[in-house]
Symmetry: D2
Subunit: 84 residues, 4 copies
C-alpha cells in the first residue's frame, strides 16, 4: 500500500482570512517575527496497489481543488513535491 499526498493552497494572490486570523493572534503569544500564515488542505490518498500519480492528479482536479482559486501539488509520501 502506498500513499499519495496532495497539498492544496489558495493561490498567493487570494486573501486567506483564516490564516490572517492566526497571524493576528500571534503577538498575544509573544510571537512577533511571523510575516504570514496561510492555511490550506493536505489530503492523503492510500492506494490499494501501486500508487498512481496521474489518477491522483485527476482526483485532485475534480474533487479536491478549485483550480481558479487554488494551486495543488502531488507527490508520493516522502518524495519532494511536484507542482501541478
Amino acid at each position: 500500500m502506498a500513499r499519495v499526498v496532495v497539498d492544496v493552497m489558495l493561490k498567493p494572490e487570494i486573501l486567506d482570512p483564516q490564516g490572517q486570523a492566526v497571524a493576528n493572534a500571534l503577538p498575544r503569544l509573544g510571537v512577533n517575527d511571523v510575516s504570514s500564515v496561510r492555511i490550506g488542505r493536505r489530503i492523503e490518498i492510500e492506494f490499494a496497489g501501486e500508487p498512481d500519480l496521474e489518477r491522483a492528479r485527476e482526483i485532485a482536479d475534480k474533487l479536491l481543488a478549485n483550480p481558479v482559486i487554488e494551486d495543488f501539488t502531488i507527490r508520493l509520501d516522502g518524495a519532494p513535491a511536484e507542482v501541478a
Copy 2:
C-alpha cells in the same frame, strides 16, 4: 525569509467523513483502487528572520491543532517531517 510547514491530520482512529465522501465519489470517476482518503490541514508559516521550529510548535499546539483529536507534524519547508 523561511517557511515552516505544519501538517495537521485527524488521529487515525477518528473517522473523517469528508475524506470518506471523496473516497465514495471515486468509483464514479472510474477509480477503484483507492482504499482511503483523509483530509487535513496544511499551514505555512513564514518567519521574517530565522524560522523557529519551537515557536511553530507552540503556535500549532495553541492555535492550529486540537491534540485530543488531531496529530501534527512540523518541518522546515523542504525538510522531512518531524512528528510532534
Copy 3:
C-alpha cells in the same frame, strides 16, 4: 427545488483552535467583548424535487459529520433548526 441546511459544529467540550485563533486576534481590531468564537461547517443540500429531511440526516451522518466529535442540526432553509 428546495434546500436543506446542515450545520455541523464541534461538540462544546471539544477545543476549537481555529475559533480560538480568531478570538485571540480580536483585541487587535479593538474588539474586547467577545467571549468565544467557534468555527463549524454549513452545508447546503439542494433536492431536485421534494426536500427529504430523513435523507439529509442520513447524508449528514455518513458523509458530513463525525458524531464522536461533532453535533449537527438539519432544517429546511428558512425553518428553525431541529437538533439531530
Copy 4:
C-alpha cells in the same frame, strides 16, 4: 450573553469541489435526487454583553471571509439571516 451567527459560503459562481465530492458520493447511498451540495463555514460568536452586529460584520470582513470569493450573512442566533 448572546450569539451572533456568521454563515460564509463560496459565491455561487465559484466551483466547490468538496461539495461536489459529497454530491458524487450520494448515489452509492441510494440518493439520486440531490442536485447540488455546497460546503461553507458557520461561525458562532459569543458576546459577553450586548451582541453587536456591526462588530460582527467587521470581524467577518477581516478575519472570517474573503469577499472576492465568498459571501457571508450575519444574524442574531434565532433571527432570520441578513445578507452582508
